[in-house]
């Protein structure tokens, strides 16, 4: 079906189709609508879900964990302070290898308070062992959320699917949806690695470990993450077959003969497309590399793609406040470290706290990368 949906509506709709067993969530702008709309489906009996309206995000993630260890398919949604408040439990969910799927309408972190979109919330949890997807459009959000369930369950790791707060969460766009049954068939039923409610075969989940076992458990979790990329690619391929839409983990846009490209994630990719088109129209050889999967860090794909270009601008919608570049900039330069070609790489931080990022801004960045700016370590786009 072709529908007009905001990012939040599309997430809620996908959740309806996924029909998770348990949803435990807490409201926070700009993700609130997701569970709000989802609770309409609950109230109308359109899903089987047990909806747990917890008293905080810490409890939201904990209740998700409690339900997921019982073999249930479990989802939640949050943003910003909510994600930050879950921080402790994120690591626990991953350590327990629970495929909880979380919809995030990303937003900046306090202080000062700001309800608008940037990637600080998700990126600040990048070590927690969660898969992280960043989406460009509402359509992609919808498609990715459904895929994420399958990927997470195959990888036995939790997954976060992010759309930019307000910019996508509150933006109505045209989307093509799948039939309910198609989604349910695609996902099948979760096959849990273990089940707490199987009381005839009792297990203990989450023991204390001493020096003799912790690192080994962690190593096994790390291996879980190492195995994710092929799973993502398989699930995407399968999804492509039923939906006719494909999203490479890494997309190169008009990169064929590009002399300069920017790499980025999320909704601004669209805005950059417009800028690239305009500059191409003026004969400037620029392109864009869009990264959809932030965790795992797809180092081999990044290396393979980026090594082709002379000049690269890495655009972060978050700053690491470490007197160095943005987090993605750091990771990309690291990934390219041992390549022979070693493109020039520049760091751009843009759009924090919902700061408007226009095609003109994007052109400015592309232009700078093209000419090879060399003054400041990091450029803060649009800061007065």
């Amino acid at each position: 079906m072709i529908l007009a949906k905001t990012g939040n509506e599309a997430f809620a709709y996908a959740m309806k189709q996924i029909n998770p067993d348990v949803v435990a969530a807490y409201p926070i702008t700009p993700s609130t609508e997701i569970v709000q709309l989802f609770s309409n489906y609950v109230s109308d009996g359109e899903v089987d879900t047990e909806y747990v309206p917890v008293e905080s995000e810490h409890s939201a993630m904990t209740a998700c964990i409690g339900a997921a260890v019982c073999g249930c398919r479990v989802m939640t949604a949050t943003a910003s302070q909510g994600l930050a408040l879950m921080h402790e439990m994120l690591f626990i969910a991953a350590g327990l290898r629970l495929p909880i799927v979380m919809a995030v309408a990303s937003r900046s972190l306090s202080s000062p308070l700001n309800i608008h979109g940037d990637h600080s919330d998700s990126v600040a949890s990048r070590d927690s062992g969660w898969l992280q997807f960043f989406c460009e459009t509402v359509q992609e959000g919808y498609d990715t959320l459904i895929q994420a369930v399958k990927i997470a369950e195959r990888a036995n790791l939790p997954a976060l699917v992010g759309i930019d707060g307000f910019i996508l969460s509150h933006c109505q766009e045209r989307i093509e949806t799948l039939e309910d049954q198609v989604v349910r068939d695609f996902l099948g039923r979760r096959k849990p690695a273990y089940n707490l409610l199987d009381w005839r075969n009792p297990i203990l989940v989450g023991p204390a470990t001493l020096q003799d076992y912790y690192f080994e458990f962690k190593r096994s979790e790390i291996e879980g993450m190492n195995q994710v990329l092929p799973i993502i690619e398989e699930v995407q391929a399968e999804f492509g077959r039923i939906a006719g839409r494909k999203y490479p983990v890494l997309e190169e846009y008009r990169c064929e003969d590009a002399e300069a490209v920017v790499v980025l994630m999320g909704s601004a990719c669209g805005t950059v497309r417009v800028a690239v088109d305009r500059m191409r129209a003026k004969g400037k050889k620029v392109g864009m590399v869009k990264l959809r999967v932030f965790r795992p860090l797809v180092h081999s794909l990044l290396k393979k793609s980026l090594v082709k270009f002379k000049k690269i601008g890495v655009m972060d919608r978050v700053d690491a406040v470490n007197s160095y570049g943005g987090p993605l900039f750091t990771e990309i330069t690291s990934v390219l470290y041992d390549t022979d070609e070693r493109p020039w790489v520049f760091s751009y931080v843009y759009g924090l706290g919902g700061k408007e990022f226009t095609p003109e801004d994007a052109e400015m960045v592309l232009e700078q990368v093209l000419t090879g700016k060399e003054d400041e370590l990091v450029t803060y786009v649009g800061v007065r």
């Binding site: 007009a4 910019i167 109505q172 045209r174 601004a268 669209g270 805005t271 497309r273």
Partner: protein, 194 residues
Amino acid sequence: MAQVLEIRWHGRGGQGAKTAALLFGEAALDTGKFIQAFPEYGPERMGAPVTAFNRLAEEPIYIHSGIKNPDIVVVLDPSLIEPAKVTEGLKENGVLLVNTVEDPGVLRQRLNLPATVRVFTVDASKIALETIGRDVPNTPMLGALARVTGVLQLEPMLEAIKDKLLTKFRGQEKLVESNLQSIRRAYEEVRGIE
């Protein structure tokens, strides 16, 4: 029509500017267009001036930034005209559509608008009161907007909106009917059509 048609709605928190933009987006979608509809990104309070936006195009829309220079400005509440600076950024050859008893000509003069800007008015509040029974000008304004933009035909639009309203009002057919009626009337009664 520009490649991408950009619309800005002005209303007050509680008046449904955002809903109108979303409904308009849905209606346009049904006519095969690519669309975007989004509210002003900010904490909205009841009574406070707010804005919402639409983009319509024949091709996929990639841009994800705000609208600064709309082709069309729609104003739901005439008391907003001055305080909300509704004409700010309006394109030179843009359109201003206002819910007011005032005549387009008078309004144009009062606001000192260049001749290139086309001005339309409609008494949507009156229409709403007469059809729906409450001062909810956002629905009738959809009709007026369809008329002045010309991008949507009345009947297919009514069809499209009917669907949404049926869901929204949980099947209260009468209420839906009166809403549709208000759209039809505003479509007819909009003033300033040359």
